[in-house]
Symmetry: C2
Subunit: 258 residues, 2 copies
């Protein structure tokens, strides 16, 4: 347990965490891409995930502030450009707003995060605080869920395009550039943790950081599942879809029982 | 909307928030005190709530550090004594560990918070960060869920004593002193917010702080409900009770549907 892992062994251990804990295995993801989600469930997903999307450049700014060299900061800065855009052109955050509007949400309500679930806020805040307060090695490592994102993105895009008449390529414009951006980001972050984790203890911190980040994503889908799939317990003050009464129990059969 | 509330109106507005959002209204609380909870569900509650209990003196230390006068700090310090104990005698945190041991959990596992739900961690962390980063007025206001705790404590104690053969007065020794401690704490905190909230904007911050704190408590029961009542989706790595397979769907009828 206490010997240093080779860079390849570290990468394999990271991939094993994704295989067990990445939210591609969450029942809510399955409902979403399989066509079983109601419009209201998709709206709730778009609304809540906006909170996550809107905080990505914030957490990346904290990482940026903590990376020690101009070269590392230049590499990381592209992430902020991806999400905040450049010149007059919006980036990923703007594209997520388009997605939300496309599925029938009011843009200003989404920006104000009106009705988002408290659990979403807490999970996103935990992520921002993690990159601010842990070591920069752990902060970089927590981004490594991107190693697994191409699979979930292609499953989500092909499934949602095929299964919902109100969703088209424009709706999902957020995801297309993510496929290439994530590949580039992972190259940097994976090389960074392989190089900078110089003791077994540091390697364990890297693995824990990825487990933590998987939890951040998982908890968001847990909260959506509880509130909007089963048993439909919506926290006081949170978003209630207009079609909530028509789809009680949708996707029940996909629930995992512990 | 923008005129200053009288101290009595502010208190009434605080009580109205409790009437709507305090976790006494959560289905998990109802299952717990009504006798419908399995041993495994009670263990999951004791384990996860330990994380909250263990952080109470931590959040109170942050408030202590931010109160400006010795008199205010003296008043607040009693909260830390209540939870951490005095001389060789443990306080509320120790009594919670006794509760956890009494329902069959391993003390060291509880202290290590082995298997607690990520959503619990995130909610508790959000509370600690709230008192550290918001104004001290908001930090004090966030403690005001104690205005409503005597009711939930007496409902919980009488219900649990009546309905579970394995629970006795000793198991619930944590709660008895809380009834008097909470009364004293509320006197200070309620007087403080009535006096220090000098504008309507500050009064709104006080009300929002209480809403936030209700969310912190609510989300913890949401997470327990999803993982251990219905649909029994346990996050990867979280506690799985030994009796999980015997009680699937317990308390189903109490679920609120949004």
């Amino acid at each position: 347990m206490s010997t240093l892992l080779s860079p390849e062994e570290l990468e394999a251990a990271l991939r094993a965490i994704g295989a067990e804990r990445y939210h591609i295995h969450h029942p809510f993801h399955k409902i979403l891409h399989s066509g079983k989600a109601s419009l209201g469930q998709i709206q709730a997903w778009a609304l809540n995930r906006y909170c996550y999307q809107a905080h990505i450049p914030v957490k990346d700014a904290y990482v940026l502030a903590r990376l020690p060299t101009p070269a590392e900061r230049r590499a990381w800065r592209t992430r902020i450009i991806d999400h905040d855009g450049e010149d007059d052109k919006g980036g990923g955050v703007e594209r997520w707003l388009k997605l939300a509007e496309n599925v029938g949400l009011n843009r200003d309500d989404v920006i104000a995060m009106k009705g988002i679930l408290p659990a979403t806020k807490f999970a996103v805040e935990a992520y921002v605080n993690f990159v601010r307060e842990k070591t920069v090695l752990e902060a970089v490592a927590s981004s490594l869920t991107e190693m697994f994102s191409p699979n979930i993105i292609s499953e989500r895009m092909s499934g949602m395009l095929a299964n919902y008449s109100f969703i088209n390529q424009d709706t999902l414009a957020y995801f297309t550039p993510r496929l290439t951006q994530a590949k580039r980001d992972v190259e940097f972050a994976l090389a960074y943790v392989k190089r900078e984790a110089k003791t077994r203890e540091q390697q364990e911190l890297v693995l824990d950081a990825l487990r933590f980040k998987c939890d951040v994503l998982w908890v968001q889908l847990d909260a959506l599942y509880l509130a909007y799939v089963e048993p439909r317990m919506v926290s006081p003050g949170a978003f209630i879809p207009e079609d909530a009464r028509d789809h009680v129990g949708a996707g029940k059969e996909t629930a995992r029982r512990g």
